[in-house]
């Protein structure tokens, strides 16, 4: 080999050695030398907007903090947000736009279950990481998909386990009625409770009635449930609907205890339902509610309020906290994946996260190679004297949920 050839070869080798990071950037969409683009979606219009607006704002606050602190291994985070209108079809269109047109690196899902189910097949096929912050639809994590992760909320069958155990063992109720919305999430919660009551206790609900999302009058359903004389009425829907139903229940003289789904364990329902919310119970998705007097939450609340002044008193809500904490989970995994960030290295880094949380405001998230359910813990709460307070109750039954992943 001549000296010229040696020089050429040496140059080529040096170039090749210098190339991998660049080649990885070129091959991995949504990454440049200084930016990581994340595609986010959720409902910011319509009756479920309280989810998406909070999801967008919480995530944006976390991104601002991450970027202000120097970004991730030299790159800044950039979020492109799309409205899914709480519709499976619109959610799929939003995801296709983010993936195919905006060429995002990963998806951050702050949609409800209704929007999420429309995107699952496409995202599985596409292979990009989708980090689902809120949706409890089982299809996110079961059947297991390598690129789908669940953050703050847990799988709805786990809700079913906890709800059934708490209502029967905690509230000592045998006659349970269910009032649930007809869309994906509340229907799933109602189904999960029904299934688990049957499986663990051999109990069938004494009555189940349904309503449509956005309904303003629940008198027919409440009167129907009242006639079945339940000890506990389990309500699954959106906080705005729950507030109306709780007020109407009191007006109709229905004094049975109400148990509500996780999305309603928040400040908003207290504001909307007023005294009618007294005594209701449910499970909180986060260890500290946004109106908590805990110093960590107060500090976070002050930070959030400074970033988003002028919003109604029911904000920040639990979804602001969840998406804020989950964006930190995603950002931390990206940082752990190192400078050579790819979908594969991000999945690997997420699967190595164990009991990670940004602080006391969030529950710890853990993933493994066999399951991507970040959180199985929920906190039972009850409204006493107009405030949500923790109930000293702990689940004693072992969960069946993780067994199926082994």
């Amino acid at each position: 080999m001549s000296a010229g050839n040696w020089l050429f070869s040496a140059f080529a080798i040096c170039l090749a050695l210098a190339m991998p990071p660049f080649a990885a950037h070129a091959a991995q969409q949504g990454l440049t030398a200084d930016t990581i683009t994340i595609g986010a979606f959720g409902p910011i219009t319509g009756p479920a907007a309280y989810i998406g607006l909070a999801g967008r704002d919480g995530a944006a606050l976390a991104i601002k903090e991450v970027n202000d602190a120097g970004g991730i291994n030299g790159r800044k985070l950039n979020m492109i947000f799309e409205d899914d209108g709480h519709s499976p079809a619109k959610a799929l269109a939003a995801v296709k736009k983010l993936v195919d047109d905006d060429k995002v690196f990963a998806l951050f899902n702050v949609a409800g279950s209704n929007g999420t189910i429309g995107t699952i097949d496409y995202v599985k096929e596409n292979g990009l990481v989708m980090f689902v912050s809120f949706a409890s639809a089982p299809a996110v994590t079961w059947p297991f998909a390598k690129n789908l992760f669940r953050g703050g909320t847990t799988e709805v069958p786990r809700y079913g386990e906890l709800y059934a155990e708490y209502i029967v063992d905690g509230l000592k109720a045998q006659k349970i009625a269910i009032l649930s919305g007809r869309e994906e999430y509340p229907k799933n919660e109602g189904d999960a409770l029904t299934k688990q009551l049957q499986k663990w206790y051999g109990i069938a609900p004494v009555k189940r009635a349904e309503f449509n999302i956005g309904d303003k009058d629940f008198t027919p359903q409440l009167l129907e449930l009242q006639q079945a004389d339940p000890q506990v009425i389990a309500f699954f829907g959106n906080p705005a609907e729950a507030a109306i139903a709780l007020r109407q229940a009191k007006e109709l003289g229905i004094n049975q205890r109400f148990f509500v789904g996780t999305t309603m364990v928040d400040q908003g329902i207290l504001t909307a339902a007023g005294p009618a919310a007294e005594g209701i119970s449910g499970f909180a998705l986060i260890p500290l509610l946004p109106n908590s007097s805990d110093p960590a939450m107060k500090a976070w609340h002050a930070k959030w309020t400074a970033a988003y002044p002028g919003l109604p008193p029911n904000r920040p809500n639990i979804f602001d906290v969840l998406s804020y904490a989950d964006m930190y989970v995603l950002a931390t995994a990206m940082r752990d994946a190192g400078k050579d960030l790819t979908t594969g290295s991000l999945i690997d880094a997420l699967e190595h996260l164990h009991d990670y949380r940004i602080g006391p405001i969030a529950s710890p998230r853990s993933f493994s190679r066999v399951h991507h359910i970040g959180n199985l813990r929920l906190q039972p709460m009850q409204v006493k004297n107009g405030e949500w307070v923790q109930v000293p109750w702990e689940s004693k039954r072992p969960s069946d949920i993780l067994e199926r992943y082994h």
Partner: protein
């Protein structure tokens, strides 16, 4: 179903129906006067609630906030008619419908830009625990809604029968050319009709807000009000009220007997039935094309 449950359902249906009735009236009044079907009426309901919210946030007491809201809404209706409707009043009906539809979308989009889809609450002094009346338990908000509708209907009857402007509006509804020849200023009639409709929409928004909260979708029940107006006979004010009440009661009983899924279908099935069997509605006048 016991008779107590039946009565409780009727009461609930009447309160829902009262809201439909007020919005149906707001649809019927400008339609009678100018033959324009206002698809932005739902957004005028929403706007009324937001005006109330803003005035309340500035510390205006409820008793002052309500008339102030109605006056602002009426002025807005007047401006809307003068700037956007009157210039195209001679256009084909389809153009007018699309124009009002577009105005509605713009109003909703502007509300969204400022307030987004966050839920706001407007407290009302009359909201409180249910009142026991015989075997029934009655929400004071329902009583206020039903009572306001009843008073409103009486006031509108007096307005159309006793006042000069009311009579002018009735005359214009029957024959615009004839009314103009009699010295009635049709432009004033159109503007007044739109101002009245906007104020009625705002009133419906203020009545609804304490019960269901405020968000940009609040006015979506205009579709139900439209069904109510068709059932009653489009252009008939009494028909609009009756149609609204009937629809509210039917919807509530349908929910009780057939569940949530069919409850949503009943109003539209009824609409189709009326359009097929009695398109002029219960109190409307059939027009024969020759």
């Amino acid at each position: 179903m016991t008779w107590r449950v039946g009565l409780q359902l009727a009461l609930s249906g009447l309160s829902v129906g009262s809201i439909y009735a007020i919005i149906a009236l707001a649809l019927a009044i400008p339609f009678k006067a100018s033959r324009v079907l206002n698809f932005a009426q739902g957004e005028l309901v929403t706007l009324g609630a937001y005006i109330g919210l803003v005035l309340t946030s500035y510390g205006l007491p409820y008793a002052a906030m309500v008339p102030a809201t109605l006056i602002i809404a009426a002025a807005f209706g007047l401006v809307l008619e003068r700037l956007f409707i009157r210039p195209i009043i001679g256009a084909p009906e389809f153009t007018l419908v699309i124009a009002t539809f577009a105005i509605g979308l713009i109003i909703r989009a502007l509300i969204r830009i400022h307030w987004q889809d966050n839920n706001f609450f407007l407290p009302a002094p009359y909201a409180g625990p249910a009142l026991p009346i015989g075997p029934l338990r009655v929400n004071p908000s329902y009583l206020v809604i039903i009572g306001t509708t009843a008073v409103l209907v009486c006031l509108l009857v007096l307005f159309f029968q006793r006042t000069k402007l009311g009579k002018a509006m009735r005359a214009a509804a029957v024959n615009q050319t004839g009314a103009r020849l009699m010295g009635i200023r049709i432009g004033t009639v159109f503007g007044s009709a739109w101002a009245l409709a906007a104020a009625l929409g705002a009133l419906a928004g203020l009545l609804l807000a304490p019960v269901v909260g405020i968000n940009p979708e609040l006015g979506q029940l205009v579709v139900k009000a439209l069904v109510a107006a068709v059932i009653g006979g489009f252009g008939s004010l009494g028909g609009a009220v009756f149609g609204g009440l009937l629809l509210g009661v039917l919807e509530t009983y349908a929910g009780a007997f057939f569940g949530a899924a069919l409850k949503e279908i009943i109003p539209f099935a009824l609409l189709i039935a009326f359009l097929l069997v009695r398109p002029q509605g219960l109190w409307g006048t059939a027009l024969v094309r020759v």
